[in-house]
Every structure is written in C-alpha cells, then in structure tokens.
C-alpha cells in the first residue's frame, strides 16, 4: 500500500481527499461513507450572524455542471459552536472550518469567536477563508478578486487567530495568481481553489432565470479543465500547498489535480451524484499509485510533464 498522507497548512491528513464546503454534511452521511476515512471534513461556510440565504430555485442543472445560489444559508458562528462543534469533536475526522463574511471585520470576528470556543482548539485543525462566494451581495468574490483585499482579509485573520489559514480563491478574475501570491505574503498557510464560476441559465419559455436570484455559481465536471489550469498556475507561483477543487468526479480527476500541483483535493458536486464517491476516490488514488509503482502520493504532486 502506497503512503497516502499529505501535509497541508501544517496539518497532517491521512490522505489528500476532503469534501468541498457546502456539498457534504456528515450529519446526513450515515451509512453512505465512513467519515473516519476522509482526509478532512469541511462543513458549509459559516458567517458571524445567521443567514437565510437566497430564494429558490437555488440550483439548476447545466451541461456537465450545475449552478447554485444557496447564498450561504447558515445559523451563524454561535450556533455552530453550540450545536455542531461538540458533534464534530467526536466525529473522528480532522475538521477545517469554512468562514465567510461581508466585511473584513466580520471575517476576523467570526474566526476570533471560533478561536475562543471550548472545543475549537482541539477539533478545528484549520480555517478556510471563503473570499470567493459568488452568491452574496458583499464580501465573497469581491474580496477574492482583488489581491490587496484578499491579502488584507488574510492578514487581519492571522492577527486574531492561531488557526492555520487556508484561503479559498475565486476563478472569477484574471488576477488569481496575483491574489494567491498576495495571500501567501499576508501569511496564508495554504490556498484552495476554485470556488464556483459566475453563470446564468434562462428558461426560454418563461423568460425567467432558472435560479431564483438570477444567477449563480457553476460547478461540476464542466469546470474541471479551468480549475486544473488555475491550480497549475497557482502552484507554480506560491510555496504554500494548494488544494485543488473543481469538477472532480473520480480518482482519475483527483490525480489530474495532484499532477497539476495540488497537494490535496476537495470533492464537491460529485457528492450529489454519488454520495459514496469520496471513498472510491481515496481507494482509486491508492490503486493508481500501486499500479504505477509509486510508494507515496507525494511522488506525483506537481509531476505533470510539460
């Protein structure tokens, strides 16, 4: 058996596979996967205050993809600390908490609150900063697409928290490499990408957008080539680990991201198609390493041959 462990943002993960925020809920995963086998678990992004999210329909299908505009529905950090953390503390999987916000202060305050919580220091291994949500009016993408803003958020959070920080970047910008470099300089411990890409679908009979909010974020296999390219570019520009996300449907797709330069991967939309897929991806990577004579998954990271 090849070694599967990787180090991301100072955390040792038993394998490079985790879910993408907002696409998998271990509370609902009973009997579908063995949670303890996951590299890490990332709950849906939380914010300082409760958010009710966007109007339905919140999703629609596209060719090999989907749009979503959930709008960061969540109960806020206090409820998360009360209701989720105790459960996660017992789940037996490293937890990375995803944080979103509309202002720099809000981001910082949310992370600070989390840091003060009872179980947090033990349970929460890192924080993922979602500066890339396309589905909220302020914050989100606006932060992630401006390198200076992304760096500022990162720096402020570093000031108030001892958690390793993973910054989740947006593909909705031409300056994602600059953003990656800026957040690295601001102290980020790792970078994850991509979040979803702005998209719109219109029902030609009703003339209404198929998403209640008008538009949403595109995910799924349709975006994979875009994500692989961005992961390739970013991993060559920074010295911190990169987590690859975008359209991973099977072990082969995950390996593509690793070859492109990702140290770990997150699986999103695929969980909706096959909720057991992350287990298959973990075994599939292991089988591939075996078959190609690799003893350690780290042997393939960034090994695309140009």
């Amino acid at each position: 058996m090849a070694r599967m462990a990787v180090d991301v943002a100072g955390i040792r993960l038993k394998n490079p596979v985790m879910n993408a925020s907002g696409t998998f809920n271990i509370r609902e995963a009973d009997g579908l996967i063995d949670i303890k086998r996951l590299g890490a678990y990332i709950p849906k992004s939380i914010t300082l205050h409760e958010r009710t999210g966007n109007p339905v329909p919140r999703i629609c299908e596209t060719s090999s993809g989907m749009l979503n505009s959930i709008g960061l529905e969540n109960k806020g950090v206090a409820a998360f600390i009360d209701q989720e953390l105790p459960f996660l503390a017992r789940a037996g999987v490293p937890v990375i908490v995803s944080i979103a916000g509309e202002t720099i202060d809000e981001f910082a305050e949310t992370v600070a609150k989390l840091g003060e919580a009872k179980h947090a220091q033990k349970t929460v291994k890192a924080v993922e900063i979602n500066v890339s949500c396309p589905n909220i009016d302020r914050g989100g993408v606006q932060f992630g697409s401006q390198p200076e803003m992304a760096a500022l958020v990162t720096a402020e959070i570093k000031l108030v928290s001892s958690f390793p920080i993973i910054v989740k970047l947006t593909p909705n910008t031409g300056v994602f490499v600059e953003a990656a470099v800026a957040v690295e300089e601001a102290g980020a411990d790792a970078i994850s990408l991509i979040n979803t890409i702005f998209g719109m679908s219109i029902d030609i009979m009703t003339r209404k957008p198929k998403i209640g909010r008008g538009y949403g974020g595109l995910s799924g296999p349709a975006v994979k080539p875009i994500a692989v390219k961005m992961v390739y570019d970013v991993s060559r520009a920074v010295n911190i680990p990169v987590i690859g996300i975008g359209g991973i449907m099977n072990a082969g797709d995950a390996i593509e991201f690793l070859l492109a330069g990702a140290t770990a991967v997150q699986v999103g939309t695929a969980n909706f198609v096959d909720p057991g897929i992350m287990m298959k991806i973990i075994s599939g990577i292991s089988d591939h390493l075996e078959k190609t004579g690799c003893e350690d998954v780290r042997e393939i990271i960034g090994k695309v041959e140009l």
Partner: protein
C-alpha cells in the same frame, strides 16, 4: 444502505407521456413509506449530471416497488427509454413521508396531475384501516387523470375534475375539495393527504385550515443532493427554512408559509 442498484422489471407507458416503472428490490419494498422518494441516476455519464427525485408510487409485493413518472425533460425521457432487465442506480428511500400513525375514519386524498403518484401508496397503506378513502383528482384534461382505475380497484371513492371538462366536473379539484368537506354528512375524523402543484397545495391548505381538518401536503423543489446536505430545496415554514428532501417532501399544511 441508501445507495443501491435495482433491476427494472418493466417500464411501460400508461398514459400519454406517463410511464410506470417497476423495480425489483426487497429492501426498497420493505423500507419505503408513502411520500418518500427515490433519487435516481438516469445515466452513467456527466450529462445530465444530477439525479432526479421520483416518489414511490406503490409497493407491488414484498420485493417490488413501482414509480409513476411523467416525461418532462431530458432526465425523465432518458428514464423512459430504459428497458426491463437493465439496472438503475437509486438512492433511497429518502425524505419524510406522510404520517400514517394516526388513522382517520375518512381519508381524503387530494391529487393534482402527477400528484397521484405518491398518493396511491398512501391509499394502499390505508386500505382496510379507514372507513372511507376518497380520492379527489384533478387535471387539465381527461388524459391527465392518472391511476384512477387503480385507486378504484383498491376501494377508493373517486371524484374527478378537469379544467376542460373532458372528464368529471369542469374546474379545479380544490373546488370539489371544499364541497367534499362542506357536504360531509357522515361523521368521524378526517385527514387530508395532498400532492400537486404548489398553488393547488396552498389552496388545499387554506381550505383545510378553514374546516380545521389535519392536512399534509407533499412539496416539490429543485434538488441536488436529496440528502439534506446542499440546502438547495428549502421551503419557508413557521419554524424557519426546512429542506424538502429531508424534513419533507411531506409537511403539515399549517406549517408552511404559503
């Protein structure tokens, strides 16, 4: 395990654009409750990508269930092309179904269009346990009145409306629903089980509220995961947002903010 493959026993057209698919699965036949649904992968590739939610229509025997579905778009059209002998990948049974723990004296099933699909399973389960099952079924035209003979066969009293008057009374089934409650001469408790388009469910809820009869409605919403993870399928209730795939698809009608 929620994730299974089931063999297709048959997949036959039963009305224009409506198919009945029978699946072999002892587990599904055993576990399914009326109002629950299966989340079906219609093909192995990436396009169409998402699963399609379809209610359990009936438990045919100890190892067979059936689905009744309309060919709306690409997914259901692909489903209608499947042949007996093929296997399909389903997740389920999912969601919270109708509450059949308290049996009324008289069950009133209110069906609009494809809404007949899950209600037949309700009628199956209530058969012999209630004094009367009345099916109120409405559709645009005669062809849209689904499974009527099946409901009759298991002893339901069937009242029909069509919008064009091609069968039953001309009008909406909710008009008949009000009349059914008004007319009530026999005594005993009543419960209402409803499934149909959202506006019809809202109207049904209002009428049930006026007459103060317990009423459950099955709702539809666009779904990605079907498992409560993605928060695609929310509906606003008096207790805040709930997930149609998890806390629903069946809700108490007075719980929903219509």
């Amino acid at each position: 395990m929620l994730n299974k493959t089931a063999e297709i026993i048959s997949n036959l057209v039963v009305a224009s654009g409506v198919y009945k698919m029978t699946l072999s699965s002892r587990e599904l036949a055993h576990d399914s409750q009326p109002g629950q649904f299966l989340h079906i992968r219609v093909n192995p590739g990436n396009d169409p990508l998402l699963r399609r939610p379809i209610s359990v229509h009936a438990v045919e025997d100890e190892d067979k269930i059936s689905l009744l579905y309309g060919t709306i778009g690409r997914g259901t059209r692909l489903l209608s092309k499947k042949k007996s002998g093929e296997e399909i990948d389903v997740l389920g049974p999912l969601g919270h179904g109708f509450d059949l723990s308290e049996k009324p004296d008289r069950a009133v099933l209110v069906a609009g269009g494809m809404g007949a699909a899950p209600l037949f399973f309700v009628a199956q389960r209530l058969k012999g346990l209630v004094k009367e099952s009345k099916l109120l079924i409405g559709a645009k035209t005669k062809e849209g009145l689904l499974s009527v003979s099946d409901f009759k066969e298991i002893g339901c009293d069937v009242w029909q409306t069509t919008e064009d008057g091609s069968a039953g009374r001309r009008g909406y089934i909710t008009d008949l629903f009000e009349q059914a409650l008004l007319d009530q001469t026999i005594g005993g408790s009543i419960r209402v089980y409803a499934c149909g388009p959202k506006e019809m469910m809202a109207r049904t809820a209002t009428i049930a509220g006026i007459y103060n009869v317990p009423c459950e409605v099955s709702l539809e919403e666009k779904m990605a995961c079907g498992l409560g993870a993605c928060l695609s399928c929310v509906v606003d209730t008096i207790d805040g947002l709930k997930r149609v795939c998890k806390e629903g698809p069946v809700f108490r009608s007075d719980e929903i903010k219509w």
